[in-house]
Symmetry: C2
Subunit: 136 residues, 2 copies
DNA sequence: CCATAATATATCGGCTGCCGATATATATCG
DNA sequence: CGATATATATCGGCAGCCGATATATTATGG
């Protein structure tokens, strides 16, 4: 049941839609604003993602409006979409935490990134079983 | 300056190497163990990633050993690799946090995810059936 | 008044990157 | 003796991201 991880672009779109329905161009702006300009979703990426997410039932077309002569096509998350986004966020947080923990472990065991060229080069003892760090 | 986000596979490899040098097959096992079997890095993915990370200077060949007739090629993170992993972990945590926050926001503003239709602002075309929901 | 930018949609070709399949070799276990 | 685990590596197919491009309307600035 553990759905496989979604793409980054899909994650960004779902995040942008998490608080309220938005139209394509609005999603683009929202993603950029949300990350303070650091992350940006490209126009060429957007529509393919929108189609895939719709096909997967994670988003649906909410409504269409004509604002000042321009068509706006609003999408919103389905319950499944919310669940998928939530699960992905969980996975990402777990992954980020695991990475941070292990970086700290590595620092403890030889700061200069050099595992201390001690013993005679050649055959080394098998690595001791590390204490589980756990992703989750 | 803001290095662009790395791929998921690259992130997994760097994480596996964060605490100590490991060889290819060991990375594979470590990734799986680390995520409790949920995430797994495929063999066909590994070597390409290893090459790319080496080319990018994020990892280096640490040493080679022959254990029981089998070659083991150990890789380790460079300082740059540690920094890149750390930055990526930060980005992921931020993204995960943003998603979580927004999901909560969406819940606050009308659980059924159905925004109310307004009158004057725009000409609406289709409005798919759904449960009525209060949203301003 | 016209050029440019912003808003808003969408498509397409190229390139990158992930994965399944496959190949090779040794050691161990039943 | 065959299956499994360890350990390396390559290749072709396919999915997905991105730059470029197209189209149309409105707002802004020179």
């Amino acid at each position: 049941m553990t759905a496989k991880s979604m793409t980054r672009a899909a994650f960004l779109v779902l995040t942008a839609l998490a608080d309220q329905p938005r139209h394509g161009y609005g999603i683009l702006r929202e993603v950029e604003e949300l990350s303070d300009g650091e992350v940006q979703l490209r126009v060429g990426t957007l529509y393919g993602v929108l189609d895939r997410l719709t096909a997967d039932g994670l988003i649906v077309l909410d409504r269409e409006e004509v604002q000042q002569g321009r068509l706006r096509r609003y999408y919103r998350l389905t319950d499944e979409g919310v669940a998928a986004l939530d699960a992905e966020a969980e996975r990402m947080a777990a992954g980020a935490g695991a990475a941070k923990r292990r970086i700290a472990e590595g620092r403890r065991a030889g700061t200069p990134a050099r595992p201390a060229a001690d013993g005679p080069a050649g055959l080394e003892l098998p690595t001791p079983p590390g204490l589980a760090g756990g992703y989750a």
